[in-house]
Symmetry: C2
């Protein structure tokens, strides 16, 4: 951007801040994925009118605009790959209203997801989507990426709880989609199109979320297995028994060892795998289902089923699960976190393929994740300064995607396509499938101003992890 | 269409049937709403390849194509308003597979919704969406309109259970959206865009539906009230008590009287209103919640709370609710069935407004519907040969829409926009909101071949019920 353009942005952003110092800009150059891209400027404003004017100006001047929340994205969603403007939406955080008559929340995009959880629970209500980053991620980022989390199995993902949006279009117009009613079929469902569009179709400035009554009780069980296949069988048996757990998580031996080395949690590190099961609902139902789950796990050959004796022990178990990500980064500094997802019956097969890929490329790969809905998290840890290793990572990642798609799955269950998975889009969707998505993007953003370089591959683009 | 064009269609539809007799075409000229439009020809085929070729031919020749299931639509969705081709998808009904390992169903569009319910339940599974027409409607029609039903309150609508589609684009290309995994964020959510697009964006030739374990128990209660406002208060109290019923239906006095005159069901016709509550889930939880619901209703002044003594009595009560629609048509022959929806806290106010509109225009208006999710069904019965009365109906319908939107609601909760509500789109969405939807339509269907005349108003179009 030239100085006239920067001056133009300053004119438009009268109440907010425009950051141009390199040190400031550098803090906006990365996210939770891979790669560093310096924006020309950073804009902070909580005024809708100023963003409307900014988008009009950016369209006239053909300047890319990259909206961003707290940038916990694991797929490169907010990275300013073509420079231009980063729009820091985390400062638009003034509205967090819980309406317990209508079972809805009205929120600004910069509000932290965990704060919505807390505010809802204070009124006996429940906002189910719980991405692992919820304590640091903004709801705006969750909306852009359609974040998932462990509760997806029973409760669905972010999109399933969004009923209305206020959105600034790429050309700087304000629209409202959906509304405060849980049923709405007035025209095309722009709400669910925009949620998960990774900031390429509009800038969300307000959202109306559906809430449900908070389940009265929760109970947890841990089942330990000698083989990954037995763990997979237990998951299948539970899901076809008529019980729908609120969470059903898998950790393989490598993830348990990593956690124990990071912070001892009394995990069964001699076992091949363990599953963590959370049941929620009416206290009597939960009690009864817990007994059934124990029997089902015993019957498929669990080495042991542990039921926490008190809430503190329960918290401890779930903490162990949350520690996997920080723990594995201690092994090697560069973490490539994937979320290829398969139909749930294919989980044992996918686990097998992942072990083969791990051996073939001699990489440090751990497997954990939301096994109940088929959404595994194969994570590779490596060292990005080791170019030879990173090239093996590139090949392994490609093979993980191929395996997931061959098993009837998808590139991404909850992290989004962003930058890293764009080269693989046609593998899953075919050329026409990608083209039909592109037509929507072009019809809404003819100048390709809003978050350009994401989702859609450039001609010849391929995965490159060696900078 | 000229004879060369009809010949061209016959060439393309080698295995299927092309109907041209007026008698045949006439059976395809109406749906469950209002108005009669004769297509030029009717095509029946269960071959995807033939439909692909048909769409390519229709694009070359600029012939409108109107896909159609069983045409129970209440908004004119399948009406061939510009003539051309009606594509009868009810003959594509060969696939109905329940995969109990992955908790999914794979279905052809012509399969009846009730047959999916039955097939899932045989395997202990549950497909929740239950539009009242489910015994005669096809899943393809439900997908096109994003059908709702009483269970929307707890379980959501059709869209919430669709995870993958096979679709023929308006220009005759085949795409697959989503897949067999419950989590999928690979690119834009075309699945949820196409579901509810009323057949204007693509022809669905296969769908993958998400199933859940069948709830082990259900219980019903009927609560009778002296005033609509008390009934509304009871609904609010139940929903904020932490209980989420599977159904929560309202019938006003006029609907009860109509049903009793049609087929005696022992309804409390002296009361102002009644609500029907269904609870489902774990047997112990349901038993406990039933006691709580009874107490809540007593406390807000219910005249009586009836609990059916046995399953037969329970079935009887729900039959009474299903009889409202056939019953009221006996009063006068022309039924205008609306589904304007408001935030649930506004139900008492909406009921009040509906009574005022009924008196102002001196019409036979009954109110019933899915009160738990704000989705009321104000139905007006009239005689379409009485032009003066029909003009009063037109005005009343407009005022119903205005009232719903003024209360923060929507034109349509579950019936779709179709033909009848198109003139009111801008009232809810604004000019830009409608334009952003139109951009998508134009980018996918540049020749406006697929179901033209729906959703988007023609310039100056207004509601006309006098033929």
């Amino acid at each position: 951007m030239n100085s006239r353009q920067i001056h133009g942005v300053r004119n438009v952003i009268a109440s907010g801040r425009v950051l141009t110092d390199e040190a400031d800009r550098y803090s906006y150059a990365y996210d939770g994925s891979f790669g560093t891209y310096l924006p020309d400027i950073v804009v902070q404003t909580n005024k809708v009118d100023e963003i409307l004017d900014l988008m009009k100006f950016a369209n006239e001047e053909l300047i890319p605009v990259y909206p961003r929340g707290q940038s916990t994205s694991l797929s490169g969603g907010p990275l300013p790959v073509y420079g231009g403007i980063v729009l820091d939406m985390s400062v638009m955080n003034d509205v967090l209203e819980i309406d317990d008559q209508n079972l809805i929340a009205v929120v600004s995009p910069g509000v932290l997801t965990a704060d919505i959880h807390k505010a809802a629970e204070q009124k006996g209500l429940f906002y189910p989507p719980d991405p692992s980053s919820s304590h640091v991620s903004t709801i705006g980022g969750n909306l852009a990426e359609n974040s998932g989390g462990p509760r997806g199995l029973k409760y669905g993902v972010t999109k399933d709880y969004v009923i209305g949006l206020e959105v600034i279009t790429p050309q700087g117009e304000l629209i409202r989609t959906g509304g405060a009613t849980v049923k709405n079929v007035t025209g095309y469902d722009l709400t669910k199109l925009i949620v998960g569009s990774e900031g390429t179709l509009g800038i969300i400035t307000k959202a109306i979320l559906r809430l449900i009554p908070k389940p009265a009780a929760t109970k947890t069980a841990m089942a330990i297995f000698d083989s990954l296949v037995d763990a997979g069988t237990a998951i299948s048996k539970i899901l076809s028994s008529g019980i729908l757990p609120s969470k059903l998580e898998l950790m393989d031996q490598a993830s348990m060892v990593a956690v124990e080395n990071y912070e001892p949690c009394n995990l069964p590190i001699d076992a091949a795998a363990m599953i963590l099961i959370e049941l929620d609902g009416h206290p009597m139902a939960v009690e009864d289902e817990l007994i059934k789950v124990r029997h089902l796990c015993d019957r498929v050959g669990a080495v042991e089923v542990r039921i926490p004796a008190n809430p503190a022990e329960e918290v401890e178990l779930w903490k162990a699960r949350k520690l996997v990500s920080p723990a594995i980064v201690r092994i090697k500094p560069t973490k490539i976190s994937e979320d290829a997802t398969v139909p749930r019956s294919k989980i044992p097969e996918m686990c097998q393929r992942l072990q083969e890929i791990k051996q073939k490329y001699n990489l440090h790969l751990v497997v954990f994740g939301h096994a109940g809905d088929g959404n595994l998290h194969p994570n590779i840890v490596a060292d990005k300064s080791d170019k030879e290793e990173m090239r093996r990572v590139e090949q392994a990642v490609s093979e993980i995607f191929e395996a997931a798609i061959a098993l009837g799955g998808t590139l991404s269950g909850e992290h989004g396509i962003g930058l890293m998975k764009a080269p693989f889009m046609e593998m899953e969707l075919g050329a026409i499938g990608v083209q039909m998505m592109k037509r929507i993007k072009q019809s809404w953003d003819p100048n390709n101003i809003l978050n350009p370089g994401k989702i859609f591959p450039e001609p010849g683009q391929r995965l490159v992890l060696t900078e």
